[in-house]
Subunit: 358 residues, 2 copies
């Protein structure tokens, strides 16, 4: 049915990569102008198909090593204490398409990131009501989306340690930007794990199980690991790495997306973020290689990207603009991607080529 | 700033094509299950950037060869007689990515089609109020999205003959699926031209001008023409060609999208459509080359796709499924794409490879 391992590729892109790019929307970079990404512009990574879902019949089952196994309807979940959080999510594979060699998968250039207002009930409350037993080590989250990856058939599933799952800002979510979840974003119910790459925020959430052993599902053990070489055991992807993007200035060419800017003062702006609740401490902008500090907007909450701006006096000619963020831990974006077999965690600095006309 | 002509390409895809595919969402084929495509799953073709737009300040100017030039606010347009239509739109370049050789542009495989409920006011009423003069030959529609294509800087603009523009179902639209237009679909105002390929439905509509001569804009004269050879004058793209798609059955492999289906009865279903208000008269389905009639759903209005279904008794092994529509004019989908330099109008039959397990 499918290959178990896909060899790395260089140069032009496979038809499978293009088909994935057409299915899985990126956020067009001009949408960086929005504090909260509007409906339908939020990036999307759907591993299999968007499953059919009947909200009226939906049940969330909580079981495994719990004292009181439960099965909740959507109405029952909506009646629980609600919390709304502004959360930036980024695909762990964002930037994969710019790496060389690259892993054949979703070929994000840099547009696999967005921010939404997610409303739901804290997972911790659901788990407290179910009574997670002492011997439980992880919580496993399972969606209804099913398919094959690397030769293995499975429902999409991921786990968190019990401690991580009990964080007060991990939500079981039923609304996005003030509307019921859209089908492609996990309707009627999904997990949102702030501070983590998107793969942890399981969509179409149907089952939560407390387990005594580390979860061995393919999306947990095989995929979503940082590996410099294929033989490495690897480090699991978790918190987002520090990253930043700018809104490309001026106007584009349709095909090359190259930009044309009028000489004179140009307001550059963008967003920067990091993972694990660590704030962005600094954003720098370079014009043709000289880095200068950008102006940071106020912090927009513990989990959301931070706006920045930079006044550029554009001189006629060809220029390359880059932005680079540093977080409160001192982590800074690299100029080149770190080698990674699966194409994960590419937070190297964005470059935007610009022609300035007099 | 940009090439004036892009040479055809074969085989693997350019990075520019992948970047366009990530920006311009396709409709995932499983969304064929919805009569009306939900927000954010409607396909998108944005030539330049999604422009910033302030609905409160927006003006639609109607001028040129009219007796009473006008400039209307959004509130003034919303106060006019309203009409809601269910309209299937397809990108004229849908299927381009499967052609060989192909034109380097948005590399749609087959997902550049969707259906929405568009609400607006008939353009004919606006034009009657403005008083289009006798010498006017075409109406030119201009958006606020600006950029380069083939070396030429321009606002996106298209024209219709005065007769076509006066059709009662051509709408100036401010809502989609019961919500205000989303930024990426032309907020706050756009044109919707039912029966035509999507390029006619100008987004971010700011100006309408009556003109005495055929409009010579690049999107009207250079792009969006059927041309068997580059030297051909070409035939302008207008009405959509007859076409159909099926929801791929079973479950997919993440990367190849190849399908696995359980042996036994399988309900196949999909949608078919044609252009110019011509209805779909027949849909056939083939399993490994033998065509049989599918069952047609009732017509869903003059401008919307038509559902179809087919009961398949799946036998273990490898199979190829295809669907083929015929419209009321007798036009039928070809098995292979018609040669087209720009990759327009590829309505060749879809093929879905399926593994059936016992």
């Amino acid at each position: 049915m499918s290959q178990t391992r896909r060899p790395p590729i260089v140069g032009r892109y496979m038809q499978e990569e293009v088909a994935l790019a057409s299915r899985n929307c990126g956020m067009p970079l001009e949408a960086l102008r929005y504090d909260v990404t509007p409906a339908g512009l939020h990036y999307l990574l759907v591993h299999f198909d968007i499953p059919p879902a009947d909200a009226a019949q939906w049940r969330l089952a909580i079981g495994g090593l719990v004292d009181r196994p439960r099965s909740l309807s959507l109405d029952e979940i909506r009646a629980l204490p609600a919390k709304t959080l502004r959360v930036t999510l980024e695909c762990a594979g964002n930037g994969r398409g710019q790496m060389s060699p690259r892993y054949p998968s979703m070929p994000w250039m840099e547009e696999g990131v967005s921010t939404a207002e997610w409303k739901g009930t804290p997972l911790a409350g659901l788990l407290a009501a179910a009574g997670v037993r002492h011997g439980a080590r992880e919580m496993v989250f399972r969606g209804t989306d099913r398919g094959f990856d690397r030769g293995t058939e499975h429902d999409y599933a991921r786990s968190l340690s019990v401690a991580e799952a009990m964080r007060p800002d991990v939500l079981v979510v039923y609304a996005m930007n003030g509307q019921p979840l859209l089908p492609q974003h996990g309707a009627p119910l999904r997990l949102v794990v702030p501070g983590w790459y998107g793969m942890a925020s399981v969509k179409w959430l149907a089952n939560i199980d407390a387990v005594a052993e580390p979860f061995g599902g393919i999306q947990q053990l095989a995929s979503y690991h940082f590996r410099a070489q294929a033989s490495d055991a690897g480090i699991p992807c978790s918190h987002m790495r520090v990253n930043s993007l700018m809104t490309p200035p001026g106007i584009p060419d349709f095909f090359t997306r190259r930009r044309l800017v009028q000489a004179g003062p140009v307001g550059l702006a963008g967003r920067a973020w990091s993972g694990g609740g660590v704030q962005v401490a600094r954003v720098e902008l370079s014009v043709d290689g000289a880095w200068r500090d950008a102006k940071l907007d106020p912090v927009a909450g513990p989990w959301a990207w931070r706006g920045w701006s930079f006044g550029w006096e554009a001189l006629p000619g060809e220029h390359v603009l880059s932005c680079r963020a540093t977080d409160a831990n001192g982590a800074v974006q690299p100029t080149e991607p770190l080698p990674d077999v699966g194409g994960f965690g590419n937070n190297s600095t964005q470059s935007v080529a610009v022609s300035v006309r007099a």
